[in-house]
Symmetry: C2
Subunit: 422 residues, 2 copies
C-alpha cells in the first residue's frame, strides 16, 4: 500500500475536487503535499523539508517512536472498548487526573475535542438546568451542531441561548474580561436566560492568542459560578504543556474549572480526547443518562495517550517549552524593534501570537501582510498559520521538542519574509 | 508499558469507580477483563477464550495483521490532516464511493459515527432550511447533544423538532413503516414544522433488528423526499458488508439516500468515520460553512480504513457473511422449533436478532430471559448482547470472518443456555 507519495500536484488537486466535498480548505497559496515527517520536520513529495511551527497535534514531534511503538504494540494485542474491564483507561485516567487540581476527580473519554466540548455542554445543561452559554466573540470550540453555534469564528449565527462576550482584544484588554462577563450575565438575567456555563479556550487562540496577565480569567469565573453557572476550560489547544509553565492553561490563571476538555495533542495524532470534571457533576449527569463512546477510551487510544504523557514527563518537555519558548518570544520581541510590521508579541510557552500591522516594506495592511507572511514563510520552509478576528495574528505553535536552533531558523525566515518586498 | 493484563478484578473495579465517571456501564453480571484478541476470539486475564459474536467494530477480526501493519507503517511515516494534499484520503474516498450508488459522489471524513450523524444533521438543516427530523421510536444515532435528542433509546426527551415514528415492530410491522412516516409528515405540516430529514439506521438495530421484507424502507423515503426532506441512511451499524448481500444496508432496500453515514467498523477499531452525500448537497452546505475535522481523514485513519476495505475485498468476506450468516440463521430457526423461548429470528448476514419470549425452562419473561441468556452465554464463552424496546432481542454480530464451526459453537451454547434451568 502506498504511504501517500505522489508529487503530481495538478492530478491530486483534480482528484481532490472530484472526491472530497467542497467543505474542505487547503493551506497555502501553493498547497503542500507532505509525505513523511519526523520530529519538527515535515517533508514534501520532492524531498524538501519544512520546519513545522504550526501543527499542535504532533505535540511530542511527528512520528515519535515511543508513541508509534505503543500504538503498534497495542493494535497487535487488543483494541476494545470500555464496557470490559481494562488497565489502560484506568492508568491513563490516573495519570491525567494527577496533573489536575484534586477537585477534578473523574474522566470520560471521547475521540475528539469536539466530542469533549459537546459532552461538557450536555453535562452543563443537564446539571445546572440552565440553557445559557457564554463564549468569546471570535472563539472556536468544535464542529458539532451545538458547538457550531458556540464558535463565532466559524461564521454562522450563535445558537439559541448562546451569548458572546468581547474577546480579550476588546476595549479594556484582558483586564476588562471579568467586567464583560458580568455585563453578559446581567443581560442574560434581564432576558430570562439561566446560565449553564462559561466556555473558554484558556489561550484564546482564535480570538488572537491572549495569555497575559496571568489571572485575568479569575474574575470572570467567579461571576459565572456565583450566578450558578459552570466554568468549562477548553484545553484542546493550550493543554498538554504547550504553555510551558503548567500542563493546563487554566492553571496559569489560578482558577479551577468545573469541567475541562482536552483533545488534539493527547495522542500525538491518534484520535483521543477527554472531559474531566468534579465527580459530583458527572454523578448528577449520570443519574439521568449514561454515556458510551464506542472508540472513546479504546485500548489503542489509551496506549497512545499514555505514551505521550510518558514522553512529556521523561523528556522534561515543559522545561524545553519554557526555554525554547522564551528564546523564541525574546527573538520575536527583538524583531519587533527592528521591523515596523510587528504590533505585538503575545502568548506563552510554544503558543505564540504575533500581531501584525501595515508593513511599509510590502505596502500591505495587517491581514494581507499576515497572509503574505504565512505563504512567504512556507516558501522559505517554515510552517506557521494566522488567527484572530482580523486574521492579522501569526499563529506559531511548534512541537514541544522544538530546539533553540529551530527557533532561530524560524526567526531568520520571519525577518527575511517581513523585509521581502514581494 | 503494560498491555493491560491485571487479573485482580476487585482492585480494577475499585480503581474504575474512583477514576471513571459513573456515566460508564460494564457488560455482564461478572464483568470481563479482556487482555488480548485475535480473529473471532477474545482472551481474559486468566487465559480463557471467548467467541466474539457481539462486537461489530473489529469487522475483519480482532487485531487483523493487514490492518495492524497498515496502522503501524503509516504512524511511523506521517500522520497529518486534510489541509495538506495527500494521496490517502483521496484513495480511500475513491474506494468507498465506488461501493455507493453514483449519486453519492462526495465524502467528508469524521472520527466517529456520532460526528458523522451530527454533520449529516447539520447539513440537512442548512440545505433544506427545515428543522424537523423523523427517527424511529427506539433508535440510537449517537452521543452528541443534538443526536441525544434523536436517540430515544438513550432515555432522554426528543429534541426540538424531532418526531419519532413507530419502529418496524409496531402494528402493521415493517410493511406499515411508510404509512407511519406519511402520518408523521402530516402531523409536522399541521404543527408548522418543515421537514429536514428522515434519519434511519437501515438495520433498525436498537429498535430490535428489522431487515425484511427488503424494500420496506422505500415508501418512507419517497414520502420524505416528496415533502422536501432528505433521507439520511445511518450505516454506522449495518455498513461494511455486515448484511452480506450488499456493502450498505440501504442497498438491500433499493433506495438511494441523500446522505449516508458510516463509522464503527470502518477502521476495525481505529477511530474513523465519514459522511457521503450527493455533491450538490455538500456544495450548498459549503456555500455557507467550511468543515474541518482535525483528525478526520488523517493519514493513519485513512490507511486503517483502506486496509479494512482491502481485507473485505481480497478475503471475499461478503461471500463468507452470506454463507456463515445463512448457516447461523438456519441453525437459530431450527433451534426455535425445539425451544419455546424463541419468538422470532430476524436480520441479515451477520447481524441477527433473536426475539425471546417467556421460557418455561427458566420461568422468566422475554426481557429477563434475554438477560439470563446473555450472561449464561458469556459464562459458556460466547459473547452476545441484547437490544430492542423490551430488551428481549438477542443481538448477534460477529466479525465477518466468522466460520460455520464458530457459528455451531454459538448455536450449541445458546441451546444449552436456553435449556438451562438456572
Amino acid at each position: 500500500m502506498t504511504t501517500g507519495a505522489s508529487g503530481d500536484r495538478p492530478a491530486i488537486l483534480a482528484r481532490r475536487a472530484r472526491v472530497l466535498a467542497p467543505t474542505y480548505r487547503l493551506f497555502y497559496e501553493e498547497p503542500l503535499e507532505l509525505v513523511r515527517a519526523e520530529g519538527v520536520w515535515m517533508y514534501d513529495a520532492a524531498g524538501r523539508r519544512y520546519l513545522d511551527a504550526y501543527n499542535n497535534v504532533p505535540v511530542v514531534g511527528h512520528c515519535h517512536p515511543t508513541v508509534v511503538e505503543a500504538i503498534a504494540r497495542q493494535a497487535r494485542t487488543l483494541n476494545t472498548h470500555t464496557r470490559y474491564l481494562a488497565e489502560l483507561p484506568l492508568k491513563l485516567g490516573e495519570e491525567l487526573l494527577a496533573t489536575m487540581p484534586p477537585e477534578l476527580g473523574n474522566i470520560v473519554y471521547t475521540c475528539t475535542g469536539s466530542e469533549a466540548n459537546d459532552l461538557a455542554v450536555r453535562v452543563s445543561k443537564a446539571v445546572t438546568g440552565g440553557t445559557g452559554f457564554i463564549v468569546t466573540d471570535f472563539s472556536y470550540h468544535g464542529v458539532t451542531d451545538v458547538l457550531s453555534g458556540m464558535s463565532p469564528e466559524d461564521g454562522g449565527p450563535l445558537g439559541p441561548g448562546v451569548y458572546a462576550v468581547p474577546s480579550p482584544a476588546a476595549a479594556g484588554g484582558p483586564q476588562a474580561f471579568g467586567e464583560h462577563v458580568a455585563a453578559c450575565l446581567e443581560r442574560m438575567r434581564a432576558e430570562g436566560v439561566s446560565v449553564a456555563a462559561l466556555l473558554v479556550d484558556t489561550i484564546f487562540s482564535s480570538d488572537g492568542v491572549y495569555a497575559d496577565p496571568k489571572g485575568f480569567l479569575a474574575e470572570a469565573v467567579r461571576h459565572v459560578q456565583s450566578a450558578g453557572g459552570l466554568f468549562i476550560a477548553d484545553e484542546v489547544q493550550p493543554g498538554f504543556g504547550r504553555l510551558g509553565e503548567t500542563m493546563w492553561g487554566f492553571q496559569r490563571h489560578g482558577v479551577v474549572p468545573d469541567l475541562a476538555t482536552m483533545g488534539k495533542p493527547m495522542g500525538n495524532g491518534h484520535p483521543v480526547a477527554a472531559v474531566v470534571a468534579r465527580p459530583d457533576i458527572f454523578a448528577r449527569f449520570a443519574r439521568r443518562r449514561h454515556y458510551f463512546n464506542t472508540f472513546g477510551g479504546n485500548s489503542v487510544s489509551c496506549a497512545a495517550a499514555l505514551a505521550v504523557l510518558e514522553v512529556i514527563r521523561e523528556g522534561r518537555l515543559l522545561e524545553n517549552v519554557r526555554r525554547t519558548g522564551e528564546h523564541l518570544a525574546r527573538g520575536l520581541r527583538a524583531l519587533a524593534q527592528r521591523t515596523a510590521a510587528i504590533a505585538a508579541v503575545r502568548g506563552a510557552g510554544l503558543f505564540l501570537g504575533v500581531e501584525l500591522r501595515a508593513n511599509p516594506m510590502s505596502g500591505l495592511n495587517g491581514a494581507a501582510e499576515a497572509k503574505r507572511v504565512v505563504n512567504g514563510m512556507c516558501r522559505r520552509g517554515v510552517l506557521i498559520g494566522s488567527t484572530g478576528r482580523n486574521a492579522d495574528v501569526l499563529k506559531i505553535r511548534a512541537p514541544l521538542v522544538l530546539e533553540t536552533a529551530h527557533a532561530d531558523l524560524l526567526l531568520e525566515a520571519l525577518e527575511q519574509t517581513l523585509n521581502d518586498r514581494t
